[in-house]
């Protein structure tokens, strides 16, 4: 649909190409495990979690839609076993989703100790970063990071750009210079999904603005907007509705050029990946026919 005059960076995550002009590379789909309430006892759920990862891998091969695993770590006591689980069950890079700054600091320490910093995409570097964490990132630098454009003070598109670029009125320094100064190699920009009523559409509008402004792989996790929709939570016919609407909303940023999507629970892979294969196939056809783009080798445009 669109093409950017600004050069768009592409990263190679151990064979997975992400970024570039819209339509050229298939969208990277990231599924989350060990999120709140997924398993009654997460440790007991490890076998099931391994099966879900295996299933996502199979779907990636079948659809030519690349995928990564995102692992939630809420508390310090979960760090060791969850990282160990990831290294045992994931072949390649994975994303660690850590809401709390203190947990992120401990994770960096642990990854350095076991020599696994190269395997990790740090999710996320955000407004909540403290001085101690900033220092730790310079000492123990993960291979990649998601930079979250959430700006509670000014949550329109410009506010989200500000947080990435210079920190706006809330930070002394933007997340991008902070990541670059730390030496993080793979920098991904997340436009920060917000609930309906909180400028939800700005996370969509920010996709082309981020790509034009920074030229870096950009994406978001709009399933969070779906899940925070009060009306839907009260909707009578619950079966599959979240799974379906999550997949549906993920199509919108890709139309504007998004390069990656955190699609939510990894259980949804069976719908999320074929759905994205369809969208990517359409986008690639348009990019090739209209802009003369050269579509990558591993792409549903070629394989499906």
């Amino acid at each position: 649909m669109f093409s950017y005059t600004r050069e768009q960076k592409t990263f190679d995550l151990e064979g997975i190409k992400v970024g570039g002009q819209p339509g050229v590379n298939p969208t990277l789909m990231v599924g989350t495990i060990f999120y709140e309430d997924q398993f009654e006892d997460p440790k007991e759920g490890r076998e099931k979690a391994a099966e879900l990862i295996h299933e996502q891998n199979k779907l990636s091969k079948r659809t030519s839609i690349p995928s990564l695993v995102d692992i939630f770590i809420y508390e310090k006591k979960e760090i060791e076993w969850k990282v160990e689980f990831a290294l045992e069950n994931i072949d390649g890079i994975f994303s660690l989703d850590m809401p709390e700054s203190e947990v992120r600091i401990e994770v960096l320490n642990h990854l350095e100790e076991i020599g696994a910093l190269e395997k990790v995409i740090y999710n996320s570097l955000n407004l909540g970063v403290r001085e101690k964490e900033e220092k730790m990132l310079k000492e123990n630098t993960p291979k990649g990071a998601i930079l979250l454009g959430y700006n509670p003070q000014k949550n329109n598109t410009q506010g989200r750009v500000d947080i990435i670029k210079d920190g706006g009125a809330l930070m002394d320094k933007g997340l991008l210079p902070l990541a670059e100064d730390s030496g993080i190699e793979y920098i991904f920009l997340d436009t920060a999904a917000t609930p309906f009523g909180e400028k939800a559409c700005e996370s969509l509008r920010a996709v082309p603005v981020f790509k034009n402004e920074f030229g870096l792989p950009t994406g978001c996790s709009l399933h969070n907007t779906v899940e925070s929709w009060k009306w839907l939570n009260e909707y009578e016919s619950k079966e599959n509705i979240f799974k379906t609407l999550d997949a549906s909303i993920d199509n919108l940023p890709v139309l504007l050029g998004a390069d990656f999507i955190y699609y939510g629970p990894i259980e949804n892979a069976s719908l999320a990946l074929p759905n994205m294969a369809m969208v990517d196939k359409l986008m690639a056809e348009g990019a090739e026919d209209y802009f003369g783009a050269e579509i990558s080798e591993e792409h549903p445009r070629r394989s499906l």
């Binding site: 093409s3 955000n126 000014k154 506010g159 809330l170 603005v209 402004e213 009060k230």
Partner: protein, 190 residues
């Protein structure tokens, strides 16, 4: 009369004369409507707290906020609202002393936050999921009701304006120019 509980959210309301509000964090409870003015879960340490603050301010009869239930992991919303009441805000809107992920109050004024801190007394039942214990706390609050805080206060939502430029090409956003052929570039580029 000003509107009661004007900010939409996931809550139940009871007797507006009651001095008690209950935040149940990640848990769902049901309370006696005669005894509790408003109750409901609270997920996030920013937008969620703003809704609670604004809705409680709309009812000056509420003088106690009981925070109970399991903490929201990652967000630490319970600890954060406690920190807000105890410590207030830093200059940039960060909640002083919060351990939450992104603990910022930005959509309501400092004046509203300060009034909230004065209006309510915090009752710490963080982590408590025993309905019986929570109900006992409600009873204790009812017994020591200091009376209304005065007139209702309407916390207006602070809105930011998005500038659009509609006369030049098609504006997805004011910083972008989209050529008729679908090429996106910066507005200032020739």
């Amino acid at each position: 009369m000003s509107e009661l509980y004007p900010w939409p959210g996931n809550y139940e309301s009871g007797n507006p004369e009651s001095p008690v509000a209950v935040v149940t964090l990640s848990d769902d409870f049901y309370f006696d409507r005669e005894k509790v003015a408003i109750w409901g879960p609270m997920k996030t340490e920013n937008l969620g707290i703003e809704k609670v603050v604004a809705n409680i301010l709309s009812n000056p009869n509420i003088r106690f906020i009981i925070v109970c239930g399991e903490e929201i992991r990652g967000h630490r919303s319970g600890q954060t609202i406690m920190a807000l009441i105890e410590n207030g805000l830093e200059e940039n809107g960060r909640i002083r002393g919060s351990e939450g992920a992104v603990p910022y109050i930005e959509n309501i004024s400092i004046e509203a936050v300060e009034r909230f801190r004065e209006q309510v007394e915090f009752v710490d039942l963080l982590g408590v999921t025993s309905k019986e214990k929570i109900e006992k706390a409600v009873e204790r609050c009812l017994d020591k009701d200091p009376g209304t805080f005065g007139e209702p206060y309407t916390a207006l939502k602070i809105e930011t304006k998005e500038e659009t430029v509609l006369e030049t090409d098609f504006a997805l956003h004011s910083s972008l120019k989209i050529s008729p052929w679908g090429k996106i570039s910066s507005m200032e580029e020739k």
